[in-house]
Subunit: 416 residues, 2 copies
Amino acid sequence: MKTKAEIISIGSELTSGQNLDAHSQWLSRRLAEIGISVGWHTTVADDLDANVEVFRIATRRAALVLMTGGLGPTQDDLTREALAKLAGVELVFDEHSFAEIKAMFTRRGRSFPERNRVQALFPVGAEPIPNANGTAPGVWMIVDGCAIAAMPGVPSEMHAMYETQVKPRVLALGHGGGVLVQRKINCFGAGESAVEEKLLDLTRRDHVPEVGITVSDATISLRILAHAPDQAAAQALIAPVEKTILTRLGDLVYGFEEEELQEVVLRLLAEKRLTLATAESITGGQVAQRITRQPGASRWFRGGIVAYDNGIKADLLGVPQELLDTHGAVSPPVVEAMAVGCRARMKTDLAVSTSGLAGPDGGTPEKPIGLVFVGLAWPGGVLSRSWNWGGSRTEVQSRTAKLALNLVRLHLSRER
Amino acid sequence: MKTKAEIISIGSELTSGQNLDAHSQWLSRRLAEIGISVGWHTTVADDLDANVEVFRIATRRAALVLMTGGLGPTQDDLTREALAKLAGVELVFDEHSFAEIKAMFTRRGRSFPERNRVQALFPVGAEPIPNANGTAPGVWMIVDGCAIAAMPGVPSEMHAMYETQVKPRVLALGHGGGVLVQRKINCFGAGESAVEEKLLDLTRRDHVPEVGITVSDATISLRILAHAPDQAAAQALIAPVEKTILTRLGDLVYGFEEEELQEVVLRLLAEKRLTLATAESITGGQVAQRITRQPGASRWFRGGIVAYDNGIKADLLGVPQELLDTHGAVSPPVVEAMAVGCRARMKTDLAVSTSGLAGPDGGTPEKPIGLVFVGLAWPGGVLSRSWNWGGSRTEVQSRTAKLALNLVRLHLSRER
């Protein structure tokens, strides 16, 4: 039996790459909230035959199809015609919709352009969906047992039409039934396969609830996805799996849902009433920038020094010239001296530092591109850690900024 | 005859709405550059049967299929298996690819996880595509007369693999016909409607070549899009329109294509052999971070001070306490003193500074959220400018970072 939904976005401005399709993501999230899983997103150019064919494939494999775009008054708006062809019926003129379209123009004090008349045409057997925010009505119809809702592409019109008109119709179909609830657990400090090795029994394809693993700029996220009759039942499925994951991954886990490392760091600083400063070389200000992105950061973050030039490392951070000469700027002693110097200079409880080779030039066999060091100084001492990143210059920089924040997090959370 | 291309994105994190698919747009733009029109984007969940079916539909209707994702080492990475099923062949182990994957781990100083072994499996008859930036090789194969390229989902790996490996293979197929050429002109320093008012005759819908205007985080971009039989004919359409735009917009224009303000600033610094430092309050390190994102930034950028706390403004930047008490940190005298102090402290030719209210709290009727100041000190003097931004905290911060960079750009380019 077909259970999944498909989302179709119509428009050559999308397939050409001129515009980015954000509607598919938005609608997928809305359907998840009412327990309907989306199997496919399809985007198709403004071509009648291609539209009909794409609609046909969708109605065969999906139980519900939500589509956006192609309902305007111009010649490249083909959705009404394609739906009629799909169902093998004619387009008929709907007086009531026509009156509503004309009234919309009157309310806006504009004369009615004759070409907007086509927006009152509907396939025989289809139901017009009123549009409170624009001229194009939507279309609701059932073809081969598949429910179809066609909505305008204008974001404000589509969002309002979905919430007030389409969602109630979808719920009335009794699909999905129940809810899809997702729990996202975020980790930092190991590779994707190293994390999955600890969870192979959970990430099996047939595991219930489903556990997925994704990596984004060195942050590993685990998604537990439960399909259940209601929220409570979904939570009951998720809770034991979440507990297992937290136990096995230990302090690799730093947060949940959309939480980022700097939020956790600021929360821990606030809990312990400790101040922080940054001394950055390779990350060039990005650690400070991530922290100050958070509202209220000024309470615990005093400031930072971007010591890009070695002269600045010596002059402003007090790194002994001898250390720079002997070990080079990219080394544990220098990154530790940066943290110690920064802490003294900024008069903070903690200071975190970064150094490394972001590339594209400047690597050697001993110190390859991607080699980085992060350091942390606190009232009781100093330490440093190293890592070897792959990736582009900007990826090495952003991953190193996360590595530095993670070092602060681990220090603060182990100190309890 | 099939002539169009299809782009397939694989991953339940996309169909669920958790992540936004940006690859389809990127690849559509790249294909347009070589005259290949894209008819469909398809996104499919991590489900083997659904993958095979989607691949089958694509190979029937498209002449070329580019796909991303599903090549990782974990159990939900199904692309290799789905391609084998599509072609009705077995997966075989490729020793050469395996050696390259292992070498990647060695270079990064990490032990090889056995799970990554699956990345060396390829459908019989397929050609492995080397991945210079990661462990997952791509797959190139022809099925039923349709060329297929499967690439990893990691953006940096996919972009590099497309440019260096896939594009040459696609060109060799001899698809396409004519070219779509785009010229992008980037501006900063005025609003979108103020820019469009100078260009209303060009942005008309029926203008040839097409001229579009978009705004992204206060950067206004104009795109001239020409469709012509060859590059030369397209350039001939574009050149006069480009000239008109440059004349009318003057120094609002800072660059072309994907060029960003910091690239222009670094180029101008290099031309004039001048050094720069940053003194940041509201932007919290972002001006420095944008500059150091550029390869070779260390030559002209010495470093910066993130003076988030007023004590740091006085102590490290030498801003007189009296100025802070009289005018407040968010004021022209303080932002100018920050720039002057930074220039002296960092021993650079120029120093740029930022101060302002990013919100969400702390606004007053006289100094509302979004009010910012940027300052610039040079051997001959100092100046400051103010701006009132709308938007969220992170938007105010990133726009102010651009405002500061633009101040440096205007100073350097007017000085000629």
